[in-house]
Amino acid sequence: MHGAAAMREIAVVAFAQTDHRRTTDELSEVEMLMPVLHGVLEQTGLKTADIDFTCSGSSDYLAGRAFSFTLALDGVGAWPPISESHVEMDGAWALYEAWTKLLTGDADTALVYSYGKSSPGSVRDVLTRQLDPYYVAPLWPDSVALAALQAQALIDAGDTDEPALAEVASRSRTDASANSHAQVRGSVPQGDYVVRPLRTGDCPPIGDGAAAVILAAGERARELCERPAWIRGIDHRIEAHGLGVRELTDSPSTRLAAEKAGAFERPVDTAELHAPFTAQEVVLRKALRLGDEVRVNPSGGALAANPVMAAGLIRIGEAAARIHRGESDRALAHATSGPCLQQNLVAVLEGDPR
């Protein structure tokens, strides 16, 4: 949605994330989550009671812990009862729901959080359970295999090759050196094939982590943050679930979401792309028409830390944080869900002129 005349101005005013790690055995989900919840409250000076709406994203399948999202609410302080919602999706979609809630005027502030604990299970196998249960899931095609089919299609189309993918991996991990939260940073070998043509370096690290964001509307945002990251537009689109129906070398859903979010109206200086696999960055750059002048994934992106269900929200948070710090004036943030970039969300964030 974009461009409605009387739309409320809504901004990301705070962002926090955990250090993302391969395992967090010593922490339950709520124990992992609490520091980031407290982090965004401290940044804004808000208390639990000041939050008008709370929305979260997570999946119980990751850790195999039924109703973990209700236990996670303990970390919010949900008693007396709060206005709350949950999506079984990446936190970026929880943010979208919170944004619409603020648009209605029912709320002026919203807390959005998400978390993923992949370490207790085998995330490659867990993610097969989101596939078409009739024709696809019975074959147990894991997440790397599906991404590898997409990568090979790109190579066949001449859009990339293995050295180019290695460069994406290397650039991401090098950029992540400056990101203390990242799980994989610095010089990392491309490694062996996991599922050819993808090597370990082309794949995201598996790990646990959480993130939280606070949204605020209008003047409230200016009170809470020196330089709010205004959401100028945000939209999400989905493609057919059948992999053989889709054109895997392109992402029309990303392009359409970006168009609806107003991304093409003026150039962005920064883009945080949720591309868990190197080849997916190639697809997204093309769909979003990002030139070399755009700073892509200064955080290192999902190749540096990919807590499933939080990695998309972290893209929005990272883009917003750069605006907060004055390092960006107009940034694009992207989140994805499903195999081979099935569903895509694009947000355009701007800071006030300096």
Binding site: G75, L139, L149, Q152
Partner: protein
């Protein structure tokens, strides 16, 4: 801090799913070694066939037979097959556009190595020996150098004894850890002590602790030993015998506020006829030999607690 507890956890369940008419025909066809596609309004043939046009959402029911041979549109070499995948030896994942189809089907290709696979190569279905009406009735694809001009069949998707459902077993393996707070609680229990945690803000003591105060949203850490005695705050009488549970019915299951705790936990009441259990009854934990948690709670013989003492804990 005590060592964090971990235990294997297996989630396993069979999903029983009913099929729509197009899925039913397609999967029944596989059982009969016939591959069916479905025609869209604009004349494309979708394989595998779906009930609704992915572009227009129009209901589509026009089934056509396509070839059991086709062309690889993309592939990925899987040198380490995982549990449940179509082949136990290294294979290629492939999207295959079958002859006569406009879309591609995901499956496995049995090939000697990645050198033997390329986009554009010709393949054909290798049928499973036992077929039940499932996508796995296609065992996999195999390279095929034969004649491309073979006539397609004209099957329209009507078979005797149509498959109307599938059972899809799912299994996921985890190594579960309950986190710090619950680990501490379980360790203490194995020493026959019940240890909760106090909220630094509202001072309430949570038993069992989960590491956070749900009212204040802050971490709890201060250990507080509670009990061993407590008060029945409320209860119910269980009249249905649970499977695999060696307890005579009727019995009483109760909420018990251990002395010093601000949250009631639950447990079975024994050592007293079920119809004599009452709110306010004073009880204590009974540990079976070597038990890592209380087997049940029994009356202490103390006078009943006043309602005012425990009414906030109901």
């Amino acid at each position: 801090m005590a060592e964090v507890l971990k235990a294997p956890l297996v989630l396993e369940f069979p999903f029983t799913r009913s099929l729509g008419p197009v899925q039913s025909a397609f999967l029944t066809g596989l059982r009969e070694r016939v591959v069916l596609g479905v025609k869209t309004g604009d004349g494309r043939t979708l394989v595998p066939p779906v009930e609704y046009d992915p572009v227009t959402a129009e209901e589509i029911r026009d089934l056509v037979e396509v070839g059991a041979t086709g062309t690889v549109t993309t592939w990925a070499w899987n040198h380490e097959p995982r549990r449940g995948q179509p082949l136990g030896t290294p294979f290629a994942w492939v999207l295959v556009r079958l002859d006569g189809a406009d879309t591609a089907l995901l499956h496995a290709l049995d090939a000697p190595g990645p050198e033997a696979v390329h986009t554009g190569m010709r393949v054909r279905v290798r049928w499973a020996e036992e077929r039940v009406g499932a996508i796995t009735d296609i065992a996999c694809f195999e390279p095929y150098e034969g004649d491309e001009t073979r006539q397609l069949g004209d099957h329209t998707g009507e078979f005797e004894s149509m498959v109307t459902g599938i059972v899809a077993p799912a299994r996921l393996d985890y190594v579960y850890s309950p986190g710090r707070a619950q680990t501490d609680y379980i360790h203490a229990l194995s020493e026959q002590r019940t240890v909760g945690e106090r909220c630094p803000s509202c001072r309430k003591v949570y038993v069992p602790p989960r590491g956070a105060c749900p009212t204040c949203g802050v971490a709890t850490a201060e250990h507080v030993e509670v009990g061993p005695r407590g008060t029945v705050t409320t209860f119910c009488i269980v009249n249905i015998k649970a499977k695999n549970l060696d307890i005579e019915v009727p019995y009483v299951y109760a909420h018990i506020a251990l002395d010093g705790a601000d949250l009631a936990l639950h447990g079975r009441i024994g050592g007293i006829p079920y119809d004599q259990v009452r709110m306010g009854l004073r009880v204590e934990a009974v540990w079976s030999e070597g038990g890592r948690y209380p087997d049940h709670y029994r009356p202490t013989g103390e006078p009943d607690a006043d309602y005012d003492v425990y009414k906030e804990l109901l």
